[in-house]
Amino acid sequence: MSTSATHRAGKQPITRARLTPRKLMTVLSVLLALLLVFSALAIASGSEHYSLTTIVRIITSEIANKTSDVSSEQRMIILNIRLPRLMMAIVVGAAFSVAGAAYQALLRNPLADPGILGISTGSALGAIASIVFAESFPLSRPLAAFLGAAITTAVVYLLGQSRQGASSERLVLAGMIVNAFLSSMVIYLVTVASGLRQRSVFSWLIGDLSGEPRLLPIVALLVFIGIAIIYANARSLNLLMTGEEEALALGVEVERVKRVVYLAASLITGAAVAASGVIGFVGLIIPHGMRLATGSDNRLVVPGSMLAGSAFLLLADTLARTVVAPSEIHIGVITALVGAPVFVYLLRRTS
């Protein structure tokens, strides 16, 4: 390569026109800082407000395994209630956002979200069925939720197959049909559920982060694996976004990438719904907003959505816990109240 061409390639217009490692690090650092600020805010606020020094003392004494002068009640609230919930918000926010980014690239539809292929409805149906039919079995809800997601993933994928492989259009159509079918099953179950159970069923449909802290490690692991797989395919997804035939001609193993990314996105959707129920709008607005703010390159959109989704859900959860404290608003209400207007704004700006 001639040195003059290489030299010129370092100049301004070319740097602005594409994603550089420097831009990636800058954006991710800003989002990480935002996530840390929201984390501090989330852990400090609630029905009891704690100063940052108290929180730092509790956490450091716990890590160093020393006793501290902080009351055991404060320790209990911070370590057993707020910290797990904060982690859950981070994991679930990251999961829905990255799943949304993956589905959007995969289906070449900037308005796709984790719900579009019916995976989250399948997951919710599993959980609700276990509430109605097998309430006493321990951990049955998350297990059933995950099973529901897995079965729906397989069914939608098989229905989406055609002679030429899984086309995006067929996949969306199959997802819509399966989603409609599962939604009516959900409504049926809600109708037959007795009064006490109905409230629990309701939580799965609108989202609830106060659920099972025991699930956190396994959900976090599954979500991490899924995000890593999607990130590893980020460059292929960039090409897939401009068309399947063209991606094929440019050297992408299109069928393999589609299958792997579809499975990974469905895995993290299922894991997230199993932990928190269906939380809408996060997977739609976060990746969409990331692309508008920083460009379409998935090497930034995927990790950026992960951090931004965590920060957004954490903030929404903090609001959900504090606005009407000591009572709580369902987090799905907050994400929809914030998400719908933001989405309308984004839509008007792009069209």
């Binding site: 390639a9 217009p13 026109a17 094929l248 001609a249 050297g251």
Partner: protein, 270 residues
């Protein structure tokens, strides 16, 4: 260089009926034929996007079906009719996609990738809008960006599906001129599907006539672009004479819709 042997295909309306041809290095082949004759299907099979039902495509004696997608992408650059892009990616990012088969699967483009992409954009005069979103470009600008993406990998064979359909006449001539220069200067060949018969006649080294999936004629423009062959392939009235500057066949379409009018013209000439 490119050898297409006994190629067969049928799916829905797309049909190709067992034919063979081959072109050498540095050739520019124009594929002509009416709508639905199988031109795009032929291009997609050559580019490896569709698999043929029988027969084979080989480039430099390598069977395209036996190599990986990435190897094929390094040999063949494909330019589709149009790209429908719903995401705000820049022209530069779009052209850099052409380097996918050279680069790492994970990570960033190398300095080489960037320099090659920039070279391709200079060739196609697309550098002024490197930072603009592809979805906001005009049809003609986007078509040149698509060519730049295919050129960025320095392929041995360039395959283009109606690359001048959205271009004004000056850019049509420029596009054909650029393809001719690229193919004669380097060891690259090109196949182009087009409806611009006279431009194809002026610039192509070979012409292939296709109708209903059948190869009707294959040869130089002088051999293939005769009145009788073109009339029977396109089923329309046309005249062929020599282009006064290049001497290549020049095609003039004759309006036949209005039987009365054409009768009048005949009367005047008679």
């Amino acid at each position: 260089m490119l050898k297409v042997a006994d190629i067969r295909f049928s799916y829905a309306e797309a049909v190709l009926k067992a034919f063979s041809f081959d072109i050498g290095s540095g050739e520019l082949l124009a594929v002509l034929g009416p709508n639905g004759s199988g031109k795009s299907t032929l291009l997609k099979i050559i580019a490896g996007i569709l698999s043929p039902e029988g027969g084979s495509v080989s480039i430099n004696d390598k069977d395209v079906a036996s190599i990986t997608r990435r190897e094929a992408a390094r040999l063949i650059g494909y330019v589709a009719q149009d790209s429908v892009i719903r995401f705000p990616l820049t022209a530069m990012e779009f052209v850099l996609q052409g380097r996918f088969a050279q680069g790492r699967l994970i990570g960033f483009e190398s300095d080489d990738d960037i320099a090659e992409a920039w070279r391709a954009m200079e060739l196609t005069e697309t550098t002024p809008f490197a930072a603009r979103p592809v979805m906001e470009l005009s049809g003609g600008e986007r078509q040149r960006v698509m060519l730049a993406r295919a050129l960025a990998s320095r392929p041995r064979l360039l395959v283009l599906d109606e690359p001048v359909a959205n271009l004004d006449i000056s850019h049509q001539v420029k596009m054909f001129g650029l393809l001719r220069t690229l193919t004669s200067d380097s060891a690259m060949s090109a196949i182009i599907v087009t409806h611009e018969l006279s431009l194809a006649s002026d610039f192509a080294t070979r012409v292939l006539l296709l109708k209903s999936g059948e190869l009707i004629a294959f040869g130089t423009a002088q051999e293939v672009m005769t009145e009788s062959l073109l009339r029977s392939v396109f089923e329309t009235e046309l005249l062929v004479d020599a282009n006064p500057t290049s001497g290549a066949p020049r095609i003039t379409l004759v309006a036949t819709r209005d039987a009365l009018r054409s009768a009048e013209i005949e009367d005047q000439h008679g």
